[in-house]
């Protein structure tokens, strides 16, 4: 079949891009080898965090936050978003020093969303926290959403504007002839003048096919969730010198992450929990919230995500082919960025420019090193 734009990958990046293109009247087709949201986009921790972003990501993350705060007008659904703030706790003086330096750096870049709070303010916001913490870095209107719901809202809205979303359609081969991309899948051939690579952890081979290999590594961060507990905490909690992301979800369950990795059989798309690392994660939670010792963990899982060596995504025109674009490698923090990434790609495709600074995410950064 033929369309204007072929998008490989029906995760958030693919769906968000399709939505923005469709809003401006372009036709597109999303191809996914599995089902929508089967991978990172459907199973992530849902954190909407500007706090502690790499400086290069701040402008995009800030723009994306604005879109999340008004997400209903984009996708007709609030994606179950809440904005009670995200907090990075300093457990000692050293931590506090580190956070103060960070806050100063962000201020110097001209942003005001990250602030230091002292002890008292911290315990007002998080009375359940273990005593003796020093203070924290806070981003007051950061928050979280429910990823699978968000993914579906994006996809449904895109489809209502004419986007077609084909599941169980793996792209096996790509070539270009007569100003058109031709993509071959087990379900048949697709053609379009424009091609977008939003293939998440599987984006590497596609980039390589286009002649621009990238050092992408697939990894599978683990999450665990507890039974429902009475509400005892509002903001999302991290720590200055520990691997932790911790929040009480809308329904009272605790979602605990910390970027610990599962064993991954990439070929089979199978993950196996690393209980030693989850034990560390449990100890981290108990160090900050000892009263949770009897909270019961009911589920653990891991999602397959694309990691780049510098932990920055690739959001870029192809350097080798006209009319090909990439957005992948979000290194476990792409959920928050997804609305703005769709916007940026649609601008690149339709206007050949964007108002956001994307040079740091150029795919050529890996070619220079070689």
């Amino acid at each position: 079949m033929k369309t204007d734009t072929l998008i490989i990958g029906g995760g958030l990046m693919g769906c968000s891009t399709a939505l923005q293109l469709a809003k401006r009247g372009a036709r597109c087709v999303i191809l996914d080898k599995d089902s929508p949201g089967r991978h990172a986009s459907g199973v992530n921790a849902g954190g909407l965090r500007r706090l502690n972003r790499h400086p290069a990501e701040i402008p995009l993350s800030v723009a994306s936050a604005e879109m999340w705060h008004d997400i209903e007008s984009l996708v007709d659904n609030d994606c179950d978003t809440r904005f009670p703030g995200q907090i990075r706790v300093a457990e000692n003086r050293e931590d506090m020093q580190k956070l103060q330096e960070r806050a100063a750096m962000v201020r110097d870049l001209g942003y005001a969303h990250e602030e230091i709070i002292e002890r008292e303010a911290l315990y007002q916001l998080v009375p359940a926290l273990t005593p003796d913490c020093e203070g924290a870095l806070i981003c007051r209107d950061d928050g979280y959403g429910r990823p699978f719901h968000a993914l579906n809202a994006f996809r449904r809205k895109a489809c209502s504007l004419g986007v077609e979303c084909h599941s169980a359609t793996r792209v096996d081969q790509i070539d270009r002839a007569r100003k058109e991309w031709r993509v071959i899948t087990p379900k048949g051939e697709y053609r379009a003048p424009v091609l977008v690579n939003c293939a998440g952890a599987w984006a590497g081979p596609i980039a390589a096919t286009l002649g621009e290999p990238v050092p992408l590594k697939a990894g599978a961060p683990m999450l665990m969730i507890s039974e429902r507990l009475p509400r005892f905490i509002e903001p999302v909690i991290g720590a200055a010198s520990r691997k932790l992301s911790f929040k009480q979800m809308q329904n009272g369950t605790l979602l605990i992450g910390g970027a610990h990795m599962a064993e991954l059989d990439f070929k089979q798309q199978l993950t196996e929990m690393n209980w030693a690392k989850l034990a560390v994660s449990a100890r981290t939670v108990l160090a900050l919230f000892p009263q949770l010792k009897d909270a019961r963990i009911v589920r653990t899982w891991a999602g397959i995500e694309a990691f780049m060596p510098d932990h920055l995504p690739v959001i870029s025109r192809s350097s080798t082919s006209a009319h090909a674009y990439h957005a992948f490698g979000f290194s476990a923090h792409g959920f928050q960025m997804s609305p703005v990434v769709g916007k940026i790609l649609s601008q690149l495709i339709l206007d050949d420019q964007t108002n956001l600074p994307i040079e740091p995410f150029d795919i050529r950064r890996f070619q220079k090193d070689r």
């Binding site: 089902s35 949201g37 459907g42 199973v43 699978f148 719901h149 579906n152 449904r156 507890s226 039974e227 520990r242 691997k243 199978l270 196996e272 929990m273 209980w275 030693a276 690392k277 989850l278 034990a279 560390v280 449990a282 100890r283 981290t284 939670v285 108990l286 949770l292 010792k293 009897d294 909270a295 019961r296 963990i297 009911v298 589920r299 653990t300 899982w301």
Partner: protein, 469 residues
């Protein structure tokens, strides 16, 4: 036996101390192996021989002569070098044969060279209107109360459903003097026809049939008649069940009762074999998922064997034989007997397994549940008890394009509660298949997200104390 927990490693770990696990442990004992037998109950015996060591003689007599078999099975383990650990929940198992467990209150991760899964079956959850009301329970739960505590319903009981256990419980209750207000058999009449072709072969194993007929006869003599071909059964009540209504011979009936026990057959409990990554398939005849095993119980994962009702429903006697076969195979794999010796020791058990094949097709056809019961709960019927998800919510998710079990789970939270989908996995598969026209294997089962049983943060945090960030 042991108050300390299990050691870090065993050559053989057997999970489940019902007939299959007990027989496996007994067969593997005496070969100089390091063996642990783990079970979540307080005492050995499994569901069928529950409380066998502690039951008063009078109550044991009520339960019938079959129950007594458990004494020898348990005795053999008590007098062996097998380390038996009761009160042990298994929350994880992987293909490296690492076993996550909680013994008493403490969590541990142990490993084994060979693992025999003998976790048995669970009662098939079938959602119907009112099944979540207090006062509505599985027949199995009724049996547990009877065996373990001698508790019987004081105000009488309505028994309903389909399957051998229903009849057995009715018989046991009758002997215990319980008032049986009604025995509603939801097995469709045409199953008699469906089963007929298998009858001649079944007669080769007629002890089963005779026992069933005997139970029926005894019940009849006691004035308890079975209503056949009952349909549209539902429980009604405000705070708890007050009455049961159903259709029989084209008419609607209602009985007052404060207790309804139902049973719709049993299915293998496959969460551990699933967690370990063993291959499973849909068995049309047994209407359930089963792990794939060879005649020795070897699963598709090296070193993990499965025996008893966890493989497919065969009953207690068959489970014993299957347990012994897996044990002999594990002992062979560990180099303690030759293949020749294994075959010699297994002769009697293999003969039993072959003969067992005579009766199963008949029973399976006879108790085949109608698709309507499995796949068509009304929209307002709750399917997932933990998260209170209705059949209607599941159908809505399907109509929005979520056409496999896992997508439905993601969207509706169905199966995300503490029971890990044990109560709703099958129903979801049926409903999705029914609504999409896909086959059950295409729709698939929930992916397992361990822990299989909940684990506290303190228990998890106590593991791997040397590991750091």
């Amino acid at each position: 036996m042991s108050t300390a927990g299990p050691k870090a490693h065993y050559s053989l770990v057997i999970i489940g101390a019902g007939p299959a696990g007990l027989a496996a442990a007994a067969a593997a004992a005496g070969h100089g192996l390091d063996i642990a037998l783990l079970d979540e109950q307080r005492a050995p015996g499994g569901q069928i021989y529950r409380a066998i060591e502690s039951i008063p003689a009078e109550r044991a007599r009520l339960l019938g002569s079959e129950y007594r078999r458990g004494e020898d099975l348990v005795g053999a383990i008590r007098n062996s070098d097998v380390e038996y650990f009761p009160d042990t929940q298994i929350w994880s198992l992987n293909r490296e044969r690492e076993i996550g467990l909680v013994h008493g209150r403490s969590a541990a991760m142990i490993s084994a060279d060979q693992v025999v899964l003998a976790g048995g079956a669970i009662e098939r959850p079938v959602p119907y209107p009112g099944w979540t009301l207090p006062g509505v329970m599985n027949a199995g739960a009724g049996q547990i109360l009877l065996k373990a505590q001698g508790i019987v319903p004081a105000n009488g009981v309505v028994l309903a459903g389909s399957g051998a256990l229903l009849l057995l419980l009715a018989w046991q209750y009758m002997r215990a003097g319980v008032q049986i207000k009604a025995l509603l058999d939801c097995t469709p009449m045409h199953n008699h026809l469906r089963a007929l072709p298998y009858l001649p072969r079944a007669l080769l194993a007629r002890h089963y049939l005779l026992k069933g007929l005997q139970y029926k006869l005894d019940l009849k003599r006691a004035g308890i008649s079975t209503l056949q071909n009952v349909s549209d059964m539902q429980a009604d009540g405000e705070q708890r069940v007050e009455s049961v209504s159903y259709r029989h011979r084209g008419r609607q009936h209602t009985i007052k009762t404060d207790l309804l026990l139902t049973h719709f057959g049993v299915i293998p409990h496959i969460q551990l074999s699933q967690a370990a990554g063993c291959r499973h398939y849909w068995d049309k005849s047994q209407q359930c998922w089963r792990p794939q095993v060879d005649e020795w119980g070897n699963s598709s994962v090296n070193g993990i064997l499965i025996a008893g009702d966890g493989v497919g429903i065969g009953g207690a006697r068959t489970a014993e034989h299957a347990g012994r076969l897996t044990a002999l195979e594990a002992v062979r794999a560990l180099g303690r007997v030759s293949q020749h010796e294994r075959d010699r020791l297994a002769r009697n058990d293999r003969k039993w397994m072959r003969e067992e094949q005579h009766i199963r097709p008949f029973l399976e056809a006879f108790f085949h549940l109608p698709g309507k019961l499995l796949a068509a709960p009304a929209d307002d019927t709750v399917v997932c008890r933990c998260e209170e998800v209705t059949a209607g919510a599941i159908r809505k998710a399907i109509s929005e394009g979520h056409d496999d079990s896992n997508q439905v789970k993601f969207l509706t939270r169905c199966g995300m509660g503490p029971c890990q989908g044990r109560q709703c996995a099958e129903s979801v598969t049926h409903i999705v298949a029914g609504a999409t026209g896909k086959s059950l294997p295409e729709v698939g089962l929930f992916r397992v997200r361990p822990p299989i049983t909940p684990l506290t943060l303190e228990q998890l945090g106590s593991l791997f104390p040397d590991e750091t960030e």
